[in-house]
Symmetry: C2
Subunit: 287 residues, 2 copies
Amino acid sequence: MDYSRLSVSERRFLPPAVAVSSVAFALRPPVGALIGVVGADGVSFGRGERRASVDRLDRDRDASEAALWLPLVRRTRPPFEGDWALPGGPIPWDETLVDTALRTLRAAVRRDPGYLEQLYSFGAIERSAEAQRLVTIAYWALYGESQLDPDAGPERDEVDPNVAWFSADRLPSLAFDHTEIVAYALGRLRSKTEYSAVAHRFLGESFTLAQLREVREAILGEQVDPANFRRQALAQGTLVETGATQTGTRHRPARLYRFRHGAETSRISGPAVVPATAPSQNRRKTS
Amino acid sequence: MDYSRLSVSERRFLPPAVAVSSVAFALRPPVGALIGVVGADGVSFGRGERRASVDRLDRDRDASEAALWLPLVRRTRPPFEGDWALPGGPIPWDETLVDTALRTLRAAVRRDPGYLEQLYSFGAIERSAEAQRLVTIAYWALYGESQLDPDAGPERDEVDPNVAWFSADRLPSLAFDHTEIVAYALGRLRSKTEYSAVAHRFLGESFTLAQLREVREAILGEQVDPANFRRQALAQGTLVETGATQTGTRHRPARLYRFRHGAETSRISGPAVVPATAPSQNRRKTS
DNA sequence: GCAAAAGTGTTACAGGTACACCCATGC
DNA sequence: GCATGGGTGTACCTGTAACACTTTTGC
């Protein structure tokens, strides 16, 4: 069963192989990570700087600057050798889909994500022209401050030159149909922040309502009224006041909140979690 | 690459195989099709009768009777030989995921579905204990009156004894984790009727608003106010009056509507169709 | 005429948006 | 004090639920 013995033309007719690829979003690259900048003459690189905290977000960027980042891996073998691709890999016979996603993300980012959910399965036949047919099961993930915290990651290790973080709206050309997958994941992230509570997963354990609102604004790309956001967020019943307040600001200190434990079971969203019958409309009285 | 030469223990360690399975809903079994009834001592069978039209729905059933039906296929080989399973099969190297779903559905139902959309990918490692690891990409489909019309299907052929239609809430025990897949598909169908227009796909080319409302009630399992439903349905702008009216009723004839052409591109929903940024809330004025 | 369902009108209520306004802190 | 953002109050608007009411057919 050694596929490598086969010629290209033989591999062409094999049953499809299954792989997992993940789109992992974060509001900033991890400290010390390689940062890819797409220019006119290819990709140049920098290093992720240390930042004080998330509340510097709004001051660090103007409206045009990117707010979402994601890690890519440079391919070291055909097809698409040398191109950037989403973290991922083939599924071993004894590993769950989720476990494959987590393992490959861990290999690229050196950390576990704060959230993981299946996105879609892509299986167009023209995916790779000469090689074996490939079916890709895409996942999307979030890395929050808790996960990106320098203390959490083993930052002392030397940096893998084949892993870099890119701004989500300035990506290089990607291997396979990964560009399409990223676009779909972005849409899902935006749509999910509309009706579900995911924004807090970008933040640390405790946060102010202004920070939560800024995350939402960054994802949706539009301004949100602070007063109304406050009421709506608190009305959900998923936030708990910690009692502590923010310090070091040059204005009235904001209260710190945390997400209610148990309001969400796990960091991994499975198929059982249907978008919820939620509001539903126009039900007739049970007369 | 002949898998059948391998022993069971060898197959156990192969890379996962990919298959497609589909949950296909209809409001009634096709005329002449085999109908499976789950009793205390196994499954007994009947035959689908000819019915006048969909507007008999409400009179044919009381509240407790099932409203949704789906086709199952009896497995003729291990694993789970003899058990009922969702229509589907492995993915050939040169076929799209959607095409595999359509082909296997066509083989079981003898018709093309009126709607098809990817559901979820299931890949738990304990799926089949002794055989090769299996990753299942699940689809869900709808068969409407237009598709179930006896003139549309080749009903003169002898009936396949290994295909039968079952009431969605009285299913036999299914092969693999197909019970879980059906439950998930049901949830998706309900959730999708809440925010999207899918109910009309159960009906023919033209239909009354009462029929559309009855489909919605059948799916959601609750009464809907006719007056408000009328206004909301028409306000969507997706319905067009045909000019014709219903005849043969013993009350005021209802106007017939059809779905606006172009309001939806295709019967196949791909990944590009994101649930839409839709309502979105609390956007601040661009001051 | 009577029954039954189609179709219209109208009111009450809930939730969201916009925005005025007060509060607490740093400088 | 003044600037700045945190936090509260409130009027307005929109969409929905509820239900009374009129219309049009079959019998």
